[in-house]
């Protein structure tokens, strides 16, 4: 029987599944796994006895225990994925900041720089105001 609480859970699950599938466009394996997981969770909500039966099948006691273990594994998986993404973003940001610093390198009088001077965001007056440099890039991008 569908109670009000079960209905709320199912609607929440549907919304989450929609958002996840939207994010996973083009990644078909992950989409298929997501759909399978969503259907499994929906089945557990509608027929809780299924979770109990499944947990006894794999030997972990109650259905709640099975859901608990699965959610922990999933949580850890997503945490690792987010961490990997953060590391990648940090590396990209480092490369970007480094490239700009080389483009804007200032050599002593008469010496050649190891970069070029196509960008003009380097300003000794902007020291200490990191936002200034970024605003200047945005301004140049708009006027280009």
């Amino acid at each position: 029987m569908i109670t009000l609480f079960k209905a709320i859970l199912l609607v929440a699950l549907a919304v989450l599944a929609y958002l996840a599938l939207f994010q996973l466009r083009g990644r078909w394996l992950q989409r298929a796994l997501g759909i399978a997981l969503g259907l499994l969770l929906a089945a557990f909500i509608v027929v809780p006895e299924m979770a109990n039966a499944a947990s006894q099948l794999v030997g972990v006691g109650r259905g709640a225990d099975l859901v608990f273990y699965l959610s922990h594994i999933l949580g850890a998986y997503f945490a690792i994925r987010i961490f990997q993404r953060q590391v990648r973003l940090e590396e990209q940001l480092t490369d970007l900041v480094r490239a700009i610093s080389h483009l804007e390198a200032r050599a002593p009088d008469g010496a050649e720089t190891g970069g070029s001077t196509r960008l003009r965001i380097f300003s000794t007056h902007a020291a200490g105001d990191q936002a200034n440099g970024i605003k200047e890039i945005q301004r140049q991008a708009r006027s280009a």
């Binding site: 961490f83 590391v87 940090e90 590396e91 940001l93 480092t94 900041v97 480094r98 700009i100 610093s101 080389h102 804007e104 390198a105 200032r106 050599a107 002593p108 009088d109 010496a111 050649e112 720089t113 190891g114 970069g115 965001i121 380097f122 000794t124 020291a127 200490g128 990191q130 440099g133 970024i134």
Partner: protein
């Protein structure tokens, strides 16, 4: 991996001008305004090619460096000492550096020891010269710092197999080939361990050169807290 033995007579000799003319000193600087001008003037008296990488300082570091005849690069945001070193090393390589010395901006290091580091590489026996505080007479330092550094040395020997006597000493020299082969991905302080790991992995020939580090009130206040060793371990584990 064996350490190339030092010829102390060679280190004591004055290096040929050509060596220093092709040596680039990379100095990462983050909020070093109070001491930077003096440090740069001292280094420039020894070596004409100095690269300062201002790592997004919020004080007058950039203006002070701009007043000296140095190559000046600026990180728009603060990334960390490892990232600043890699920026400076890449830049020096693009400028044709044959030898690269890494030097701190806080005045702890003695610029007169730069030639000894370069001399250790100039004959081509070693590709990396690591400054060590624990050879020869040694550097006077607080007992707790000495203990933590000793533990770091044991950790480094266990993890890399390198017979080093010091670790996390930022005073070192790289040949051009070593500079091209070592790519620092650790943006913050774990880069020192990363360099040693790269030496071990890529089987680079290295040597150790005794250096003296001056622990001034300024550098002790500015430098790494001993608790930061836990952060370094954490960074090494995560990357």
């Amino acid at each position: 991996m064996s350490c190339v033995p030092l010829d102390r007579r060679e280190l004591a000799a004055e290096p040929h001008d050509e060596v220093l003319a092709n040596t680039w000193v990379v100095i990462p600087a983050y909020n070093e305004g109070p001491v930077l001008a003096e440090v740069l003037r001292r280094v420039l008296r020894v070596c004409p090619n100095v690269v300062v990488v201002d790592d997004g300082s919020t004080d007058e570091t950039l203006q002070i460096a701009a007043g000296e005849p140095v190559h000046l690069l600026r990180h728009l945001i603060n990334l960390g000492q490892g990232a600043a070193l890699q920026t400076g090393i890449s830049y020096a390589l693009r400028c044709g550096a044959r030898w690269i010395v890494t030097f701190d901006a806080d005045g702890q290091m003695d610029e007169k020891e730069i030639p000894a580091l370069c001399r250790a590489l100039a004959h081509g026996d070693a590709e990396v010269a690591l400054g060590t505080r624990f050879a020869g007479q040694g550097t006077p330092m607080p007992a707790l710092r000495r203990l933590v550094l000793r533990m770091a040395v044991v950790f480094t020997r266990l993890t890399t197999g390198l017979p080093v006597s010091d670790t996390h000493n930022g005073f070192r020299a790289l040949s051009r080939a070593a500079g091209q082969r070592i790519r620092l991905r650790q943006n913050r302080m774990a880069h020192a361990s990363e360099i040693l790991q790269a030496i071990a992995r890529q089987r680079l020939r290295f040597t150790e050169v005794p250096v003296s580090i001056r622990y001034t009130d300024y550098s002790m206040a500015k430098g790494q807290s001993l608790l930061n060793s836990f952060n370094i371990l954490w960074e090494l584990l995560l990357h």
